[in-house]
Symmetry: D2
Subunit: 338 residues, 4 copies
């Protein structure tokens, strides 16, 4: 039995992680904190849990977590770095769903997150939790930094092309649209139904914090500096990310050739599906899949990639559980199918 | 030229009133207050107004409003009664879009609004702004109390049946669903897109404040006490109210007979359309129409009525402008078509 | 291993049944027919199944189904009665998700379904598949008739009150709103996104085919004729049914008393949750739960009941799998949690 | 009085054109055809028109249209070229909302529309109806070809940058998302609410027919060949297009400099608003505005442009009416404000 805890259990990522853990017979959810709702039952915050769990949310108390086998930290960026050092002082292994340990560069962190990093000493041991490239490191990690949701969709789409040197590393254009749950549980008029329904808006147009994450991971894969432009949009739906990418082909290549390389690259990745048709979000809703579609436009020398994920599953909680499975030597798909 | 002002111009009803007044060549919008946004341009709050008005929102300053011809008060219930007495101390005529002057009974007000009424002396002169029954009184009123949105949809549907004595006055069941804009500009997680999309929820199940308003207006029309049960629901859309009503027929009557009476009753009401088919919200979106549908169920002796309005137009700003037209001797439809 | 088949696997109920069966290690999906898509892979119709099943849809061929252990018939009403007699001629047990075997009265069937019943000889052995009242009969049935989605939500809400004689059996008013998936995979302009988004419309106002089903099941429970008025509405969402009911109390009773009786009544029903708050659809989306809320309005002598289900799960495929579990002596909840 | 007719009045563009013409006192809508609904009243197809027009749809009969002052052709591409020659044989001036006369090249037409052009002799007189570049030609035209909706949003965003030589003419990446009404009144399962809600999908990824239209119009403005990649997406909303564009700056320039040039360029365009913030669709819904936002990303040398329109107004019917105003010497904004 794996003894697990969740810090930040009342946010959308925390609730989704809870949902996935409650399915499991081999995991016991022993502690769940949520400072804003401490003392309340989880099923008062997330009424879908009625009759399924009696967990009471608590203030974060280190001693309730440090002896667990694994702790999921589902806090906003800036909050995770306050508790991770404490947790790592105990015996627990930690999976951080926030952004605090995704960038090795504290300068980039400060520039994009507008925060001073307070736990830089823990960055070297943080393993970026993308099994498609770091499966072995994840298996042995004390601290896994779960990828950002937009970053996940962009990286998985570009990884084979950049690893194989099919496209130029500069001038890559990434346009994404996300469901509103990606912003978390928001109590502002801007995120109200009346404002977002029948509406679309770009945001953080040249400043989104997933930009350096995408570039850093892809540069490692490409063996050279990768430079991208990334523009996210808020769409009138709850879940899902659609990412459309333009990269310039180094030399002409057929769509079939690219499809073949992508299928080979992801042959052992249980949750990446290379599609022969155009991907759509509904195919991955409430699943841990990332679906990738491919087009080649000879006229403009572009490789066009499209990828879809559920931002709360493959983009957050599902990936975190997949990482847990790897860390504990379990089958990677356990509890994540259907 | 009618010189007009809006108190509470940044809320949804205020914005919609502004939109309707900006269409007019015969109305000049001279003052607009919004305490939470004082000092900001209106088009910073409502970006659709860019290039159409340079109005700057101000703190409510009585002297800027008291000399106008008409002031629309678009404040939350409880706030209107703080400014209306001041306005009536000047020369302005007032149309209150909130709930403070809809109930003549301060006891009912206190019970349903959970507030002590602070301006009961002004209730006697408040004319309930439903032209279909009070057109003449509205024409001469200093203070018009604009109907509640749910109340509007229920009253217009039931008015002919109760006036003509077709249905029993007791045991009337009213079920409504509303778009989210009816709740105003909400900065709470409960009203976020992620919570309301793909969701429906009843609320204020036996305690909604439009209940006594419906009963009071209909009792006056019926000449006897009318008693209703009213259950509102929040629906995943921005605009519109759908109201479905069951009333028990006093004696058998055909659908054609009822249709005939309804058409006759509303012959001179330019914004009520008695339909031969089933009404739908999309037919009235962004219009000042109320569409009414009728079914007779012999088996259960029920008259079933369905009505639809746009909660921000016929349920708020459009009705307010219709009332202004009547108050100033203008054609009732002016500026409200299309 | 239970060998299962699905007739009509490409519709929404068929797809949802497939989804639930693919989760199971103890069920093998051996045959799936869909005449309109025969020859296509299921994952071409429902791309979410990519990588999860290679099932190819076939024309309905009796011999591929008659030797299976269980066959789910997920055809439109009127089509089920064409294949069920054939299936029952073999050894398969049958769960019909359509409406053909829900009404024992062929007159009522003809009146409400506008079809002549062609297999009346099979009605006597059809067990209405609501475990909360027929668990034992379901366990032994050859033919289980799965409840209609609206009927399910209304019956579960009213069952305790009518069984215990709390409310009058006449004059019950049922108003429901459903997501669009309840209409099936529709290829008409009326069901297009552009027509249904930001729209609500009542339909089949005094003629919906679930009316006699509700009355028949509840009359059996009440021991006397129950008469209801039922008005369904189409709402701008994909999944879920919200049902709000007014019934007249025979004598005054407190909300706590009613809550207590409901909790007792459903003590052994794993998928019915009696709530102390107001139910909302999001709590049951993609689950097999039915959540029920209760209000008592002394002023009008009404018991007000609210219930929510996912129309494709508890209202169709989930209930069908729950019935299969009971028929095969398995734990009722198997494969239906989370 | 302008005597007007609409061919194809039952589609979304035709209905929207009708809505705009019904507002006008100076335009008389004398004829409306819709072959699929001939003999029906328009308000049976579009129930929002109840009480506002008694127009009966007819089969297209040339003699009912050829003597009118102006005819709007709102037919699917491929159908317009069948009636336009006939109309031009009479005295009517024609505004074609379809795609048949947008491309001067019949080869490009055949490649992208998959149709042989049957009226190439009328292409030379077709004026592309974008007042921002062809105002004078529109004023004198017999045949105006109204721009495509996506093309409109992309062209208006890029026009100043390419006219002023700010960006490279090659490698421009255009990503758009559209509401579902852009596809017209669709009777296919693919466009049903259940399929499109909570979903996003790219389509016609390297083959959308607005691609050559964008390139052709922009090449004319730039004085050299412009080459773009265009990927459209279907979004879960009814109205609106969001277009995000990446173009490479020829030399460094500040955002303020670009804003200044854009404001100057569109100084006399009453319906183009250059914004200092990020545009959103809700600001232009049901209006004839195109809002444009600008970002400069020094790091990647990109000029990033965002534009929003209502696809049925500025992207179709509103632009058509704006063109009519110009053709008849009326103020360009007449009947199009608010």
């Amino acid at each position: 039995m794996i003894h697990a805890g969740i810090v930040g259990a009342s946010g959308y990522s925390g609730v989704e992680t809870t949902r996935l853990l409650l399915r499991r017979n081999d995991v016991s959810l022993d502690a769940a904190s949520a400072s804003s709702s401490a003392g309340k039952r989880l099923d008062a915050i997330a009424p879908e849990f009625a009759g399924r769990t009696g967990i009471v949310l608590e203030e974060f108390t280190p001693s309730h977590f440090t002896d667990l086998d694994v702790v999921f930290v589902a806090l906003p960026s800036g909050e995770g770095m306050k508790v991770v050092p404490t947790l790592l002082g105990g015996k627990a292994r930690v999976i951080d769903l926030g952004g605090d340990f995704r960038l090795q560069s504290t300068e980039a962190y400060q520039q994009y997150y507008k925060l001073q990093h307070t736990a830089p000493g823990f960055l070297p041991q943080a393993v970026y939790g993308l099994p498609e490239i770091h499966r072995n490191a994840i298996a042995g990690a004390r601290l896994v930094s779960n990828p950002g949701c937009y970053a996940m969709s962009a990286i998985l789409a570009l990884l084979p092309a950049l690893t194989d040197g099919l496209v130029q590393e500069q001038g890559i254009v990434i346009t994404s649209g996300s469901g509103t749950s990606g912003a978390g549980r928001k109590a502002t008029a801007d995120y109200s139904f009346s404002e977002l329904n029948e509406n679309v808006k770009a945001y953080k147009v040249v400043s989104h914090q997933h930009t350096p994450e995408i570039e850093s991971v892809l540069s490692e894969a490409a063996g050279t500096d990768v430079c991208v432009s990334f523009v996210p949009h808020l769409l009138p739906m709850t879940r899902g990310i659609y990412t459309t990418i333009h990269a310039t082909l180094k030399k002409p290549v057929s769509r079939e050739e690219v499809l073949g390389r992508y299928c080979a690259f992801y042959q052992k990745a249980p949750f990446v599906r290379v599609r022969h048709d155009v991907p759509q979000i509904a195919s991955v809703t409430r699943t841990n899949y990332c679906d990738i579609g491919i087009a080649v436009q000879e006229r403009t020398h572009h490789l066009i990639l499209m990828s879809v994920i559920d931002n709360l599953v493959k983009g957050a909680a599902g990936q975190a559980v997949q990482n847990m499975n790897i860390m504990f030597g379990l089958p990677e798909e356990l509890g994540l199918q259907a």
